[in-house]
Symmetry: C2
Subunit: 293 residues, 2 copies
C-alpha cells in the first residue's frame, strides 16, 4: 500500500485524447531545441519548450516569481490540445509557468530546486504529467523510484532530492505546470474542475534490487581511477545506480565524495563536496559551479 507523504505523489488524472495529443506531440517534436543556458549537470537530449511563461517569449525558459498568471507563448499555439488542458484542467489564473519537456537517452542527476527563490519552498507547487508511455523513463524522489503513466498528474516535491532519467532513445514528452501560492492552500485549488483531483490513485513504484555493501564498496573503489577528466562520467555513473538498486538518490554524493577522498586528491575532493552542496545543499541565487572545469 502506497502511503501518501509530503513527497511527490499523484494529485490528479486526465483521460488523454490520443489523436489530439498526437498532433501536439508531433508539432512540439518539430520545434528545434532552444539553445539553453549551459547546464553541466545534465546529459543527453534534454528539451524544454515554454508554453506559458512570465514574459510570453517562446525562447524564455526561466522560472520567475510573478504576479498573476503566465502568458501563452508561440509554442502554445502549436499545441492546442495541451493549451486547452492547461485552461480546462487547471485553474489557469494561478498557472505561473507551463512547459513541454522531453528527455531522451538522458539524465538529470539528483538535485533540489527552488532553493534560490524568494518564497518558502512550500509555496511552490509543481505538477508533471507524462504524455507518452516509456517503460525506460523514470523519476526518483528521495528514496522512491516512480514510473509515471500518461495522464497522471503528479505533484513534484522539488525541494527534496530528485532526479529523472530515460535509459532509452525513445521520446518521453511531458507537460510541467507550475503554481505558486500566497499563504496556505490545499492541493485541489490547482484544478479548475475538481473532478480531475484524484489523490486516491496508486502510483507505479519501481521495485528495485537490494543495494549491498559490496556494491557500495565497488562504487567507492572508483576512487582508484577518478580524476578531473572522468569526474563527470563517474558522477553520472553513480547517479544512475539508485534507479536500479534500493538506495536513496542523495547517497550518490556520499559515494562520490568518498571516492575522491580515496583518490587522495584534496582539490578533487573539494570539487566533489562543492557539487554535492550545490546540487542537494543550499546555494545562492545565480551561483553556478562548473563540474567539468
Amino acid at each position: 500500500m502506497w502511503r501518501k507523504s509530503v513527497r511527490s505523489h499523484i494529485v490528479g488524472k486526465v483521460e488523454l485524447d490520443k489523436a489530439r495529443l498526437q498532433h501536439d506531440l508531433e508539432a512540439l517534436a518539430a520545434v528545434p531545441r532552444v539553445e539553453e543556458e549551459y547546464d553541466e549537470f545534465s546529459s543527453g537530449y534534454w528539451k524544454n519548450l515554454s508554453l506559458w511563461n512570465s514574459s510570453g517569449e517562446a525562447d524564455d525558459t526561466m522560472y520567475r516569481d510573478i504576479q498573476g498568471s503566465a502568458k501563452p507563448t508561440a509554442h502554445a499555439a502549436k499545441a492546442p490540445y495541451l493549451d486547452e488542458l492547461i485552461h480546462t484542467v487547471f485553474d489557469s489564473k494561478i498557472v505561473k509557468m507551463a512547459r513541454a519537456r522531453n528527455l531522451v537517452d538522458a539524465m538529470v542527476i539528483p538535485h533540489r530546486d527552488f532553493i534560490e527563490l524568494n518564497k518558502d519552498n512550500d509555496q511552490y507547487f509543481r505538477t508533471f504529467m507524462v504524455l507518452e508511455d516509456n517503460g525506460s523513463a523514470f523519476h526518483s524522489d528521495d528514496d522512491t523510484v516512480i514510473h509515471m503513466r500518461p495522464g497522471e498528474i503528479w505533484y513534484l516535491d522539488a525541494a527534496a532530492p530528485h532526479s529523472a532519467v530515460n535509459f532509452s532513445s525513445d521520446s518521453r514528452q511531458a507537460l510541467c505546470v507550475d503554481f505558486a501560492f500566497e499563504g496556505s492552500f490545499t492541493e485541489d485549488q490547482i484544478f479548475a474542475d475538481k473532478s480531475f483531483y484524484r489523490p486516491d490513485l496508486e502510483p507505479e513504484i519501481v521495485v528495485r534490487k537490494p543495494f549491498t555493501t559490496d556494491h557500495r564498496d565497488k562504487l567507492v573503489q572508483l576512487g582508484g581511477i577518478i580524476d578531473n577528466d572522468n569526474f563527470k562520467d563517474i558522477l553520472f555513473l553513480m547517479s544512475r545506480v539508485h534507479y536500479r538498486y534500493d538506495v536513496p538518490a542523495a547517497e550518490t554524493y556520499e559515494w562520490f565524495v568518498e571516492a575522491c577522498r580515496l583518490a587522495d586528491d584534496t582539490t578533487l575532493t573539494a570539487k566533489a563536496e562543492g557539487v554535492r552542496d550545490y546540487m542537494i545543499g543550499q546555494r545562492a541565487l545565480g551561483e553556478r559551479l562548473v563540474a567539468a572545469a
Copy 2:
C-alpha cells in the same frame, strides 16, 4: 622533429583578421542549434552549422557526394568573413561542404569516417581550421594528440581512428571544409592562392604522460562495475584517457571489450564488440547501433 605522414597534418595557414572573425563568431554563436540526427556517440554541447552544402538548405548537415561545388546556405550570409575565406583561400569550385562547428565540454569518441561513402577514402580531403584558441581543446589522430592553433589549416585523415574533445566549458569554434577529387591530386590543389599552402609548419603535438600496465589494469577492472546502465559512461571515461596518456586512441576499445568480458556478460560483450566495429571497423551505409539501448 615532426615527421609528416599520411595521417592528419598541417597543409596551410591563414592570418586571421580578429575583428572581422569576432563578428562572425558572435553571429554563429547566436544561431540556435539545429536539431540533428540523434547521435549516441557524442557527449556535451556539439554544434554543426552548414555554411555551404549540397542542398543550400541551412538545416541540412549531411555530407553527400555531389558533382561540382557546394551551395552557400543562409548561415554563410551571417558569417561574411568565413564565407570570404572559403572563396579566397580555397578553390571554391571543388568545395563539397563547409561547416562551422563547435564543441563545448564535449567529446566525439574515437571513430573513423567516410567509410560508408562511394569513393575510395583517399579521394576525400577534409580540412579543419580552429577559429578560437582553447588550451583545453584537442584532436587525436591515431596515436597523436594535437592542439590546433587558430588559423592553421589541417588535413584530417578521417579514415584513421580520430577523436575530438573540449575539456572546458569555453567555446571552440572551427571551420571544416571538405573536398573530394576524381583521380590523383596534390594537396596544394585545394588552395585558390598557393601562398596559403604551408606544408612546412610544425604542429603543436601534446606531450602525454606514460601509459602504464597498472593504469591499463585499472581500466579493464572497471569490468567489476560495468553494466547496461553505465556502459556509455565507461566508454566515454575510457575514450578520454588517450588525451592525457601516451596510448593510441583505438586501444580504448580493447580495454572496453576486455572490461565487458571480465564482467562475464556475453550480451554486454557482444554490444561492446559491436560498438568497436561500428566506430573503428567497417560499417554499412546508414547502419546505426544504439550504445545505450
